[in-house]
Symmetry: C2
Subunit: 558 residues, 2 copies
């Protein structure tokens, strides 16, 4: 058959009214705040009313290190959710919201693909239910109040050179990375150098995604360190008096969004913290709500398992008291070939040896995830060019590592393509063999936490950090932040800090360039390499070809 | 009885589902895109389907020059709408959306007051249906694409010193008024001085409020002049290739929002262009839609009649082919006293002489509005401290000027307090005595248009403008912009450009400080005095006391 594009498939979706989707989970329509006919937020009253119910089984979908070949993590999350429903299980999926800014740079940003998508796809990639706009407003209100405090006398004694809180926009705009504000004279304040990040990189986003409820949200917002005095004493958001108003701005954004898959199964799409400098997971409140309403909840983590699953386990599960029953590692034959040294242009030709050469990347992720005490299933996300011999090579490799790999055709067939896979995942989840534990205890030192991840996940020999960084970590321990987890920021393309080092490298070092305290979100960001927190647009941005066609449909977005 | 606060009254509202409100106007629920249970957008399909219907009667509510005593223009708009419905007329109201930023500076921002309010009041003052966020995104996308164009080689030859397009945020943030962007080296572009305005001041906002439909919107966005070359040739938004993507971002924002009054009558709340540098009216598409659905449409204009009604008539009516059947000028006894020289602290005491002394301000507004060929009714918006003698003084004055004034008690009593008023307004509208015409023709010269307004509305002796400004106006005429209306930007507190000159001054001059071309919106902004396009926060911003109480209700916003 002729393949349809993702957007053609999404537009042909037979969507059901969102009230019907909510009813599948027992959410009454009075507890669904509609945004159009196909999106809704779940009321806090309803969430509170199910707090005492037992949790369903949590299934994490993660992946090998991403390559330009694509691995299909969100697509597999959606496909597995549909597959579980197709075999008679009550399942929901939990994925992240898309960022608006990057949609105008490169085409893409869809929620899944092929016949494993979440809809309404266009709205989800544009304003959706306004959550990210609310985060932008809350973040920038705090910024305005900081400068306003300084303007009106600076009673707190903020050192203008040490204001840590930047501003944000959900836009790819390199011109805003580094700016000087408050020019133009006395009435505009005290000039100082600062900048803008993209909204998903805001600590407010990370906080929203880790907060249990609105009271927790407000407390965490208050904990944000916004600046320091000349004596290096921290100034908190609560000192500025902004936490209450920020909470008001985020009141609706805290409520999980319910949408549906192409097969009309429930999907919670909520939160989207930057997977580099934050933990990169769907919101805790969405995942916890889904666990109360469904027997199986399928969710994803950012990037490959070395970054995404590690943060999911060590940050989100730790803070939320979650424990996955089974982890799916997504791999593709094409990505294995790239890990095995094949260039993207040559991926079309059968190359079983390259597949075998790339498999150690997959193998190490399997080992790592098992290190958290959780069973692993590998999903081979099928591409039309894959040959049987190539697929078999992956299966054999995985079997040789004491795990199992299952071929999945959800992209082309929807749930019909993942019946075996969904059945097996459910069996493993039901078997209760997981014995989850985070990789390190709260009371381990901050530097030792970094070392633990570097050695046990990245398989590095050592962590390199100069005295200034070690002193900073010790200072935070003395200030009472030593019990926080660490949030690693490094390239997603390699286990190492060198993005070109594919496969399963060993013997490398992890240099720590900088550490940042996200006191509100509750983690220490450990930066190992260049981290760009405000993207730019390419020379021919997608925006130049985005528009409405004569039928009023959006063209060029996908 | 003990008076309740606006927010207490609003919270006690017996709201009906928005589908019921839509049904009153014949809008089927499939054509109402819900945002929660009490807000909805009207579909473009429905708007298109009623395009051939005859229009209802248009009623404009305007006011005397605003004073710190308050005049209650929105309150009267709502009260009159409810009053018309109470006497059995099919009426809808059309008002503007509130800006988010100022809510965090000073308390306030409610939509009406007392028993003449539109609900849901809190959402309307926060994110509402996201229209302003969409405008912020569209505006800033264009800004990012301009800098991106320069970054990637500047094929259009933009003079970086002559980029006219700033950025916007819906936030009171003085630190952003004047900034230098693109610092930090080669990867961040070419440093240049620019700044941020508040979102309502964006030309995108003005365009959205004057566009007939999405195609018109896209064409107008394309017409925006974003920069000039070294040779002073204009660079348009369409040259940058941004108009299509901006239209996609504004697709939903273009649809009018339907909410309800406390008495469950339909209210379209849509658009909110800055009444200083734009025309300050509810969107054309909302007003036109309401006119197709109701027999009477009550709408408001910004500030006093010298600014707001003038722009409503000369800009909005001209561009939209609208013609008001009757104009209501709102006055209060207290504001008359202030115009008569009484200080705010002394407003409580009866002072009939001061009322009489202030009435010429009202009288001139009546004369001015009549100059557009439209009959006038004065609404005396009653305050509890008003004495009968004071009210009678206003009535006598208005009668002496060949018009009529009616005492209105909608604030305290809702529609029951405006039965006489609503009846009389409907009679005048039905009498068909209006013979509306804008004050000047399209083909009058730009400077002559300014003079016409200055002399006939402000009653100034002359317009002062130096050669540079006159040359600029002539250059625009030669470039084909001579047929545009002018959008006056001056203080709202006086007919003159001196905010302290109350009453009905004569013999003054109108100095033009600057002129700006809003080629997309389609007017020339004429700045007569200081215009602040990015407000600041006060020393104790309202945000410091805004928060959620234990019941989850918002405190401190009103």
């Amino acid at each position: 058959m002729a393949h349809k594009s993702d957007i053609e498939i999404a537009r042909a979706a037979q969507k059901r009214p969102i009230q019907e989707i909510g009813a599948k989970l027992g959410i009454g329509s009075d507890h669904l705040l509609p945004y159009g006919h196909d999106k809704a937020k779940v009321s806090q009253e309803f969430i509170d009313s199910v707090a005492d119910r037992p949790d369903g089984k949590l299934i994490l979908v993660t992946a090998i290190n991403p390559t330009p070949a694509g691995e299909g993590k969100t697509t597999t999350t959606v496909g597995l959710g549909d597959g579980l429903n197709a075999i008679g299980k009550k399942a929901a999926i939990c994925i992240r919201e898309a960022s608006l800014g990057p949609c105008f740079g490169m085409k893409g940003g869809a929620a899944g693909g092929g016949y494993a998508q979440v809809v309404p796809m266009e709205e989800m990639n544009l304003h959706f239910t306004g959550d990210f706009h609310a985060i932008t407003s809350a973040h920038n209100l705090l910024a305005a109040m900081i400068d306003n405090h300084i303007y009106w006398g600076n009673a707190l004694g903020i050192d203008e050179r040490r204001v840590m809180w930047r501003r944000v926009l959900d836009m790819n705009d390199r011109a805003l990375r580094d700016v000087v504000t408050s020019l133009g004279g006395v009435a505009n304040g005290f000039p100082r150098q600062t900048g803008f990040d993209i909204t998903v990189a805001s600590e407010v986003m990370a906080i929203l995604c880790l907060s249990k409820n609105l009271a927790d949200l407000e407390a965490r917002l208050g904990d944000i360190i916004v600046a320091y005095t000349r004596e290096r004493a921290p100034i908190y958001c609560r000192d500025i008096g902004a936490a209450g108003a920020m909470t008001v701005l985020l009141k609706d954004a805290m409520q999980p969004n319910l949408v549906q898959t192409l097969e009309n199964n429930p999907a919670f799409v909520h939160g989207g913290p930057f997977a580099n400098i934050a933990h990169g997971c769907n919101s805790l409140i969405a995942t916890q709500t889904a666990l109360k309403l469904a027997d199986y909840v399928v969710t994803e983590a950012g990037f490959g398992a070395d970054l995404g699953a590690e943060k999911f386990m060590n940050i989100k599960c730790r803070k939320g008291g979650l424990a996955p029953s089974v982890v799916v590692v997504v791999a593709t034959v094409r990505a294995m070939k790239m890990n095995g040294g094949v260039a993207k242009a040559d991926l079309g030709a059968e190359n079983v040896d390259a597949v075998k050469a790339g498999c150690p990347n997959l193998g190490r992720h399997i080992e790592n995830v098992k290190g958290f005490g959780v069973p692993v299933v590998v999903a081979i996300n099928h591409f039309v060019t894959d040959t049987d011999a190539e697929v078999q090579a992956v299966m054999d490799y995985v079997a040789g590592h004491g795990s199992e790999a299952i071929l999945c055709k959800h992209w082309a067939e929807g749930s019909a393509g993942v019946i075996e896979f969904a059945t097996r995942v459910a069996e493993i989840a039901d078997a209760g063999i997981a014995n989850f534990a985070p990789l390190y205890d709260d009371d381990l030192g901050l530097f030792e936490k970094i070392e633990t991840i570097a050695k046990r996940i990245y398989r590095a020999d050592e962590v390199l950090a100069d005295k200034k960084i070690r002193d900073q970590l010790r200072a935070w321990e003395e200030a009472g932040y030593g019990n926080l987890p660490v949030c690693m920021a490094k390239t997603q393309y390699s286990f190492s800090t060198d993005p070109n080092l594919r496969g399963a490298p060993t013997g490398h070092s992890v240099p720590v360039r900088e550490v940042r305290l996200s006191a509100g979100a509750g983690f220490v960001v450990v930066i190992c390499g260049e981290i760009m927190t405000m993207p730019g647009l390419p020379s021919k941005p997608a925006a130049m070809t985005i528009g409405l066609n004569d039928a009023g449909e959006i063209e060029g977005l996908f």
